[in-house]
């Protein structure tokens, strides 16, 4: 386990003479905990997962909050803990809760549930920036747990809205054989059915050959019996084989899901709505582009910052009720104010649909309507969520 403490340098160095009336000193401590997982080996080493994934997002959120805070007499501190495999995540969370009741958790579903169910977490406010699992937003939701990472269901729905708009009605799917591949495939399939698309063949990718050498021979054969379809979905959570599917399919069809057209929380190609500024701030800090979990950690930090700014409070209870109230809105560089769903704590947000070099579209797409907000056409809506922990 490795813990480091970041007090924002900006806040301590700069002194600004301000005549704002009635400023109360508020100190906000946030603890970011990351579960470091051994990732499975992949066929290509071209795109290693950054070791500081998520962490730099939290760090940037700290800087953003601190800059605002210095005008209001509010200071922020961030503690970062990495919990390695074989170490006890719940124990690390317990230790963190002894210091603060504001936690950002970049971890898997089980670890997040363990953390939320600790007796010490009863009065705390937890943010999930690492798991897209629908269970955490559905029957497995927890009252003290908010989610800044979009759910996998939101991302799947975003993709399906695009297919409906383009009339790509017939869908085929290839999924890896790991549990998270199959879970992502199930989410995509459920979403396709929800949007009335015709879901055809689904095959599991079980080859263990090195596809860098023979993809062109293997993939046409593998995809030959998928029948006809408009678009091929690939579910490959570990980014193992998906990159070898494009252009090698038996039929000339676009690829989407884990390759080709991808629904994401964030990507370097997002430039509109002032996003270019967030991108450049992040790249200056991280020396790499901002990714999904960086964005989710940043959004959690900023949600806390925004609530502190508006309420002048730093206690979990006040911040939580403000975040779930209609008064809360976060400017998240996605063209619409981001708010939390009051029934399961999910941060509503547009989903960019990207290819490697450009933004293709941003969901919700035009024409998908909802009585509350079009953002609620993505992911679990209130009637279907099954979450009851927020009924208070």
């Amino acid at each position: 386990m490795k813990t480091s403490r970041l007090a924002c340098a900006l806040a301590s160095v700069l002194t600004v003479g301000i005549a704002t009336s009635a400023m109360a000193e508020v100190a906000v401590n946030i603890h970011y905990l990351k579960q470091v997982l051994e990732t499975p080996p992949t066929l290509s080493n071209l795109d290693p997962i950054p070791e500081d994934l998520g962490m730099v997002g939290a760090e940037l959120g700290l800087q953003d909050n601190s800059t605002t805070g210095r005008f209001l007499g509010q200071t922020y501190a961030l503690t970062v803990t990495e919990v390695y495999e074989g170490e006890d995540f719940a124990e690390a969370v317990r230790a963190a809760l002894a210091e603060t009741d504001l936690l950002v958790l970049d971890a898997g579903t089980d670890q997040i549930l363990q953390a939320a169910d600790l007796p010490e977490a009863a009065g705390a406010l937890l943010f999930n920036s690492g798991s897209g699992d629908a269970a955490l937003r559905g029957t497995g939701c927890r009252a003290r747990l908010l989610h800044t990472l979009p759910s996998d269901a939101m991302r799947a729905d975003a993709l399906m809205q695009f297919f409906v708009t383009r009339r790509w009605d017939e869908i085929a799917l290839i999924a890896g054989d790991r549990p998270d591949d199959q879970a992502w495939a199930d989410t995509l399939e459920a979403s396709a059915r929800k949007f009335g698309l015709s879901f055809g063949a689904r095959k599991t990718w079980v080859f263990d050959a090195d596809m860098r050498r023979n993809a062109s021979q293997e993939v046409p054969l593998f995809t030959q019996d998928l029948g006809d379809y408009d678009v091929l979905l690939v579910a490959d959570a570990a980014d193992d084989f998906a990159r070898y599917i494009s252009y090698n399919t038996w039929r000339p069809r676009p690829v989407a899901g884990s390759e080709g057209l991808r629904p994401v929380a964030w990507h370097r190609v997002v430039e509109q709505w002032g996003a270019a500024q967030l991108q450049s701030r992040f790249e200056k800090l991280a020396e790499r582009p901002m990714l999904d979990r960086d964005y989710a950690a940043w959004a959690a930090m900023r949600a806390i910052g925004e609530a502190v700014t508006r309420t002048g409070a730093a206690d979990a209870e006040t911040l939580r009720s403000f975040m779930l109230s209609p008064d809360f809105e976060l400017a998240g560089f996605k063209g619409a104010p981001l708010t939390f769903r009051s029934w399961n704590g999910q941060l509503r947000q547009p989903i960019p649909l990207v290819q490697e070099r450009a933004l293709v579209a941003q969901a919700p797409l035009e024409g998908f309507l909802h009585q509350r907000t079009e953002l609620d056409t993505l992911g679990l809506d209130q009637p279907e969520s099954g979450c009851t922990a927020f009924d208070n």
Partner: protein, 322 residues
């Protein structure tokens, strides 16, 4: 001392060609300025600029035009007659917006990437002061008496009040999310600040720096999330404000006495900034996504023409040509 020479120069030009007044539009993704002839309502000139031109303003005597070339990290000073860049001003990194002090000498520049407002002396071409403000400074304004400058910061969600005597902050006031534009009105007694994501305009009493009104917008059949106030300008006598509402593709007409919206006018896509013609009978709005400028007849409050310009038009500035 400079003025008479210039007048003769312009007069000389006028004698050769009958020039009409112009609207200058910066095209953020084309690195150009489109010059619109107000009489023919056509683009008559396209002038190259530095990278990603956004803010644009003329000197008080219209002898030079200042352009924020954001990605060139410079404020360019251009001769509007020839389109020639005379020199660059030190501007700090990523200048987005600026305002020229009534002394016609000091530029207050928002450095979007650096959380800084830079004050530049345009005569000595030196940086006079750099003031730490909130994240992503953007909206800039200066009071008519020149005593107060304002920077709004988009991510910090504040209006920062700068004492131009000491070049230091004397107040910071919270506004709604993503403040974009600020203007002093009614002889400097009121400050208006638009908030893009908040969907509001806050009106401040300048003496006390307290909020005295908040303006909301509500367009039939358009979701409030898409109603995003950005640039705005006032009609003669500051009786009405015309407010660009971004991706709702509308401009609102706000009664500046009652703070009520009287009308919504449909314009191009993602309407951004604007400027009036000489007698303020016509308003020219830049529409970022549709790449055009909408001309609004102020009296009838109707859009009367749209003029194709470059890609992602951003700023607009009026230039008289006599």
């Amino acid at each position: 001392m400079k003025l008479p020479i210039l007048t003769t120069l312009t007069a000389a030009l006028l004698s050769t060609t009958a020039l009409a007044d112009e609207i200058w539009v910066t095209n953020e993704k084309d690195d150009t300025i489109s010059v619109i002839d107000i009489e023919t309502m056509e683009v008559v000139r396209t002038i190259e600029t530095g990278e990603r031109p956004r803010g644009i303003t003329f000197s008080k005597d219209f002898s030079v035009v200042y352009i924020c070339a954001s990605d060139s990290d410079a404020v360019q000073v251009m001769d509007p007659n020839t389109g020639e860049i005379l020199h660059d001003l030190p501007s700090g990194e990523d200048p987005e917006q600026f305002v020229l002090h009534p002394d016609n000498r000091h530029l207050y520049i928002a450095n979007e990437d650096d959380a800084i407002t830079t004050v530049v002396d345009t005569e000595t071409r030196t940086v006079v002061a750099q003031i730490d403000v909130g994240i992503e400074p953007e909206g800039m304004a200066v009071s008519p008496d020149g005593k107060i400058a304002i920077t709004t910061s988009e991510t910090t969600n504040m209006a920062h009040w700068i004492d131009t005597e000491t070049q230091t902050l004397f107040a910071n006031t919270l506004v709604d999310s993503r403040p974009r534009h600020a203007e002093f009105v009614k002889d400097g007694t009121e400050l208006w600040v638009s908030a893009e994501i908040g969907g509001t305009i806050s009106v401040f009493d300048v003496t006390t720096q307290t909020e005295k009104a908040k303006i909301d917008f509500d367009i039939d059949n358009i979701h409030p999330d898409r109603v995003q106030p950005v640039g705005f300008e006032f009609t003669t006598g500051d009786t009405h404000a015309f407010v660009a509402l971004g991706p709702s593709n509308h401009v609102a007409v706000v009664n500046a006495e009652t703070y009520e919206v009287e009308e919504y006018i449909l314009v191009g896509r993602r309407v951004w900034h604007m400027d009036f013609n000489r007698d303020r009978s016509q308003l020219f709005t830049t529409n970022g996504v549709s790449g055009d400028v909408t001309v609004i007849d102020v009296a009838s409050r109707k859009a009367i023409k749209s003029i194709k310009v470059g890609r992602f038009p951003w700023g607009a500035a009026f230039r008289p040509t006599d």
